[in-house]
Symmetry: C3
Subunit: 200 residues, 3 copies
Amino acid sequence: MFLTLDIIGTIAFAISGVLVALSKKMDFFGILIIAFVTAVGGGTLRDILIGNTPVGWMTNMVFSYTIIGSSIFAIVIRNKINYLRTSLFLFDTIGIGLYTVVGIEKGLNAGLDPLICIALGTISACFGGILRDILCNEIPVIFRKEIYATACILGGTVFFVLREFPIQDDIIFIIAGSVVISARLLAVKFKIALPNIYKD
Amino acid sequence: MFLTLDIIGTIAFAISGVLVALSKKMDFFGILIIAFVTAVGGGTLRDILIGNTPVGWMTNMVFSYTIIGSSIFAIVIRNKINYLRTSLFLFDTIGIGLYTVVGIEKGLNAGLDPLICIALGTISACFGGILRDILCNEIPVIFRKEIYATACILGGTVFFVLREFPIQDDIIFIIAGSVVISARLLAVKFKIALPNIYKD
Amino acid sequence: MFLTLDIIGTIAFAISGVLVALSKKMDFFGILIIAFVTAVGGGTLRDILIGNTPVGWMTNMVFSYTIIGSSIFAIVIRNKINYLRTSLFLFDTIGIGLYTVVGIEKGLNAGLDPLICIALGTISACFGGILRDILCNEIPVIFRKEIYATACILGGTVFFVLREFPIQDDIIFIIAGSVVISARLLAVKFKIALPNIYKD
């Protein structure tokens, strides 16, 4: 169950990387490198901070094969996923939802404080996309007006609130991930932003 | 004593992060993230290089609470710390002074060569500010004309010279930290720079 | 043999760092920091990913002394290595050739999959130069039209093909490193690029 979420998140982020790299007219290896960095960047920083080394994708080859497979797939059908901006937004949002939960779970396994687990979930979810945008010379998604890290923090908070109740772990994973995804979708659709603190 | 220096440095860097983020009109979570990254960035890279994982702020919650507390405090009284440039310079300088000593001490504890300890002190002191400036789209402080890393290297050298004499550790910490702070203050006040090697 | 390749690569990268820093009119410590980061950047990220901490240059002082020595040497004779662009290209290419092989070998020692070893070789070879270019505000070499990471991937593939045959390890190191260097030299000389995937 848990590995499944991780792999679906990997596919979503790899495709989001391919989409940005394609829009920059990169060559084949350039696209693959961006897909890889986007998909593993967040989890790599998380594993390094915890001390889980060699980091996950280096010992479990399923991640490399998933990234290579989904990247080639996305390159081949690139004319079918034409509405780049919309697809990119969707894949990126699914990725942050799933990686937030995966990151929190890894923090819990390392016996860390809930506050630190939420930070790890947010790092897992956001760092790959930040690297993707820096490498492709885009304004990093996290610094745009949209809610991004805030959605992860919200989902992480819901995660730890639900854990206080007698709910099955798998259900909590799915609810918390869905909260992240919904929060970002709704915030962008209804242009919700955090309250302005610069009024005075 | 040692933890105290580390916490005061954390407060100084967190406030310096808040000041830069405020000047960029970031939202509340954006400010908190910049404060966090500035305060823990240098120590995180240092701990990762040494292999002290999970890194310090993840296992000792006093750092997270200190950062959140001093950030909220700085946001609330932001109209009182109005002279942004001067305050920022001061907090940043206190931060690099204290973190240089903290970094050197961690290197010594890991049994590393004095040269490497000085490098670790410099990394601890400078990396958080570099990340802050990159994330806020400022020219990183380390690449401006001011003496910055050089002050850390100077303080680190004084540290290891003093250790040759029968002086108490606490005194050495304070002297070396003060050297870093004074070197930077004096260099900026009297516009001292390294000798130019491009004369010919 | 193996340490020798590592040290020659370190010298090549340190000099490439000095050349870029000189072209940016940095001061003495600035040049030294760029030389250091260029020379140890790739190996540091590789060692962190594998979990080899404290990272190599922190425990074996030969790297620090090599970097400081070759940097001062390059600064002193800087008027003799005047044709900056050509020298830089050459030293950088020697560096990526040697570090690719060193990175692969470290991956093998950690018992990792060949695909991951090639990725580690490429990271070792490319990351220092990327940091150098980012810190010096150049367009990172890896994102220019030239073949760069692709040369490392090619050399890494040759490495694992040759291992299937009864060839001595030292010979394989030299051949694989030479393939990386030749691939880059030839690609730049004859303006070879990867096939364009944007025809349609």
